[in-house]
Symmetry: C2
């Protein structure tokens, strides 16, 4: 398809497509004449991937570019995971980590193999510290259940990517799952919370205030 058709098929404005092209996030089309190129389904799909990462995943252009580079390079899937994890994680200086919360997270992830600078680990420790700060203990193994849920989701991520053929398709699944999986999970968690409260406490009664 020509550029005008790519614009129509993707819903992305031509200036934006050219910008992604300059940034190396979109492969070149096949040159058919001095000033014309032919684009394919791969280009439409790549544009959808970029838009999903930015609009739904909330990535900055820089972060989106870094994960696209990881997909397009030859680095191992573990590195693609690491790139995607860094793209979606708040950077936290190790100095802000408190020892008690770190121990609490270590306790619920016993037996897991991960590096001490896993970007999620720092986020989990920071969240645990905020729970404690706000007076919330986990008397019934609250955090342990979250760790169990996280492992279930992570296993589903890897199960799914192992159905994909070829490194490049697998790398795309790694990126999409890591970047969009948080939004999918948190949305489902709210629906599940409404279900469980409805089962245990009945329908809400009265007006909102």
């Amino acid at each position: 398809m020509k550029m005008a058709e790519l614009v129509q098929a993707s819903g992305v404005p031509i200036a934006t497509i050219k910008y992604y092209r300059r940034e190396g996030m979109l492969p070149a089309g096949d040159a058919t004449a001095a000033n014309q190129a032919e684009y394919g389904e791969g280009h439409v799909r790549r544009l959808a991937l970029i838009r999903a990462l930015i609009e739904v995943g909330g990535l900055s252009i820089d972060s989106a570019r870094s994960v696209i580079e990881a997909i397009d390079s030859e680095v191992s899937l573990q590195w693609v995971f690491a790139a995607a994890q860094h793209a979606v994680s708040t950077v936290i200086a190790p100095a802000t980590i408190d020892a008690g919360s770190a121990e609490r997270i270590a306790g619920v992830t016993q037996g897991w193999r991960y590096s001490p600078d896993n970007p999620g680990l720092l986020g989990a420790v920071r969240a645990a510290a905020a729970f404690t700060g706000a007076g919330q203990t986990d008397e019934r193994g609250w955090f342990g259940k979250y760790a169990e849920a996280a492992m279930l989701a992570a296993e589903a991520d890897i199960d799914e990517l192992q159905t994909r053929e070829g490194r490049s398709a697998q790398a795309e699944t790694v990126v999409v799952g890591t970047v969009l999986g948080d939004a999918l999970f948190s949305g489902l968690r709210r629906a599940a919370q409404e279900h469980v409260t409805s089962v245990r406490f009945g329908e809400p009664s009265g007006s909102e205030s």
Copy 2:
């Protein structure tokens, strides 16, 4: 304790404390003289809660105030959940929902009781649409596993709040769990992803690029 001690105990500057007080997010102290009041552990804890919601949960002041109001009011726990869920959810106009993704989410949440305007539901459907847009199917029941993980976390949330004594303490647990639970889960998920990839694919080899 006096205001100066509250500043020290909470680490929150006096101007900010006074601002929270004016906004109705912090209860008054016990007046001990015309221009003095006595504060207690409840005030320290409330300040920690507000800071956790804003700094770790990423809530705006307005959203934090609305969930604090829900805690301090007499509304049922289901309404507190709804307030907390709205505070952490992106507002999505129903017009942007596509039917195929809505069906996909309905499929993995069969038997769950939730209202059609659950704020998480719309987020999950939007995430599902982004997965599809980016070319990602769920051949091995990827989304179903996420739904299972979400239910596990939601049950842990309610188990935990049921150990708390009194409506106000329960409402606090609802708010903290809903607002900070996403950060806890997504952090743990990244550590779990590193564990599972390490188990299935071995240690990453080579340099990052």
